[in-house]
Symmetry: C2
Subunit: 353 residues, 2 copies
């Protein structure tokens, strides 16, 4: 029996509550498809930082390296500055393991009422392909004149040919694979003088390798507005690290699925493990009460199944989520308007599988 070695990092807050539900579903779907998932648990979190001064041990990345995939819950907790918790755990994993694709679906789900009017499931169904290793998320820069009136902070974004081309190629390949040969580039070349004109230049160059794929590009300001006004026009949207971050929260905001959206941090070459994590955070406001919605974590596990070469199993999990969402007798967590627990909803999805 094929066995997959998974590194499981629940992280902080509700990460610890939703993760067991994803593993529950994986066990069920594994049994159904005749594969096994072995879990190695890592408790690295803001707790680790408070007790050791680091978010993970010095050899942390090495301990993850040989796993087939990483399942992550949520990182971040009040009292630990975000840039410490994230640059100490989440972002090094993305970068060291060259998970250069951050892939997120934007999909209007049956049974979910979105904030926008007049849209049906099927109308909104696209992917945001976000560059995940360079760009605006950067430690290049610093401060001068601290505490003086002439204090100044510089922050440098780096766009390499290597990094830019490969994310764009991934987007074009994905569009072909989906049979939706249409890619939209997120830019801001009218305002951001060096990096974004370069982004456009590479987009044009890579697009010329894919003559069968139609392209368009929008500045990020109007693109965000169009996510709200005409989300049905998108199929695959390729964006820099920051713009992709924005778009992949805004998209689920528009579809009413921000609490349940999944993401993959993918190393397409499979040289390193990829990480799958929900878009939501650690939710200190509801953590510890067992009422968090586990769908984002379960859907992330479904994306992992795709990546591991088990697309039917992945589709099965997504379909189970959709069936539970439309079934009015199924349990609903408070964010979905019900009174069910995290476990109730996790069990219902596991049963639907």
């Amino acid at each position: 029996m094929q066995q997959y070695e998974l590194a499981v990092l629940p992280g902080d807050g509700i990460g610890n509550e939703v993760m067991p539900e994803a593993l529950r579903v994986l066990d069920v779907v594994g049994a159904k498809y005749g594969v096994r998932f072995a879990y190695q648990h890592f408790d690295w979190s803001c707790e680790t930082y408070k007790s050791t001064g680091a978010m993970m041990p010095a050899d942390g990345l090495d301990r993850l390296r040989d796993h087939d995939s990483i399942l992550l819950g949520a990182v971040g907790w009040p009292g630990v500055p975000d840039h410490i918790s994230l640059w100490g755990l989440l972002l090094p994993i993305r970068r060291e393991f060259d998970q250069y694709v951050n892939l997120r679906p934007v999909r209007l789900l049956p049974g979910v009422t979105p904030p926008v009017r007049d849209k049906q499931p099927g109308d909104i169904d696209f992917w945001v392909v976000r560059e995940n290793t360079e760009g605006e998320y950067s430690q290049l820069g610093g401060r001068q004149g601290e505490g003086t009136p002439t204090e100044m902070v510089l922050q440098t974004a780096a766009f390499t040919r290597h990094g830019t081309d490969r994310i764009m190629r991934y987007a074009f390949e994905l569009a072909r694979r989906l049979g939706k040969p249409h890619v939209t580039s997120a830019t801001k070349s009218n305002g951001i003088y060096h990096s974004m004109p370069y982004w456009d230049e590479r987009f044009a160059a890579i697009a010329s390798e894919y003559p069968d794929v139609t392209v368009d590009q929008d500045h990020i300001d109007i693109l965000c507005a169009r996510f709200v006004m005409s989300p049905e026009r998108f199929d695959v949207v390729v964006a820099s690290n920051l713009f992709g971050d924005i778009l992949s929260d805004l998209g689920p905001g528009v579809t009413g699925t921000i609490g349940v959206a999944p993401s993959g941090n993918i190393n397409p070459e499979r040289t390193y493990p990829s990480t799958f994590e929900p878009v939501h955070g650690s939710a200190p406001d509801i953590a510890g009460r067992g009422i968090a919605n586990p769908i984002g974590q379960i859907w992330s596990a479904a994306m992992m199944l795709d990546h591991l070469g088990l697309p039917e199993a992945g589709a099965d999990v997504v379909s189970a989520i959709e069936r539970v969402l439309v079934d009015e007798t199924a349990p609903r967590t408070p964010d979905l308007g019900g009174g069910a627990t995290t476990q109730d909803l996790g069990k219902a999805i596991a049963e639907a599988v």
Copy 2:
């Protein structure tokens, strides 16, 4: 009779069509309030660039300097790269004249159906205060290894104490003036390592000067989602140049007013003229047909009236716009679902004043 000297730059495309309607309304409101507006016209545009190689003459800024305000239409045209047209005209004006506040209302108007459901006029009514002279819009940076596989582009954002503190103070003062003592800061200090933690630091420092004003802060990704999911929670949102650009298009996207939204590029000290311009662009797709909606330009003129110390006149123009929008017998341009011309709608608003 008090006379105001206005520099009028229609710019490109529909800028030339909507500007006369704003002047028409200004003439009427001027007569009503006993003031006069004198217009000096400047035809600087992408045409100028094509014939002279520059968007404006070398002494262009000097020729604008002594005006009381600048009314701008739209800048940009196919065939002239955006970063040329904008860094050659729009952005130098913002910077040289220290128009460090970009102020934009996000308001659900009566008579406009927004893409979001279940919202009434009054539910969404807030201001985006955008830093307008520094930050991510920067010419700092460059390219190395052009044309090679190791090609790389660096783009540096600069955040000064001076620039950061003054935009935040403006936001807090505005919140007080509006009687809505609540400011939200747009940040991304979890991903952007140097500049955004600094932004947060200064926000906390300035907030402590305004103990009567409540504050919150959201990372730009979730903030964008919240603009769609819960726009009623905002009163004044303060943001960096890029984040403010995004939010001030997204906001009008949510309220269905992107075609009619106004903006002010304001030098609060009045050392230099301020610029008022619609949020929309030059719209090459409809330019030349006389069907562009002039409300953004007219509403921008209303913001100018406020700035010139004529708030009653400004409120009068906004009220005229609102009355025309709810009046089902009034002319409507195609974007509003009618068949009227730019002039028809401009005249109707002038009459309503």
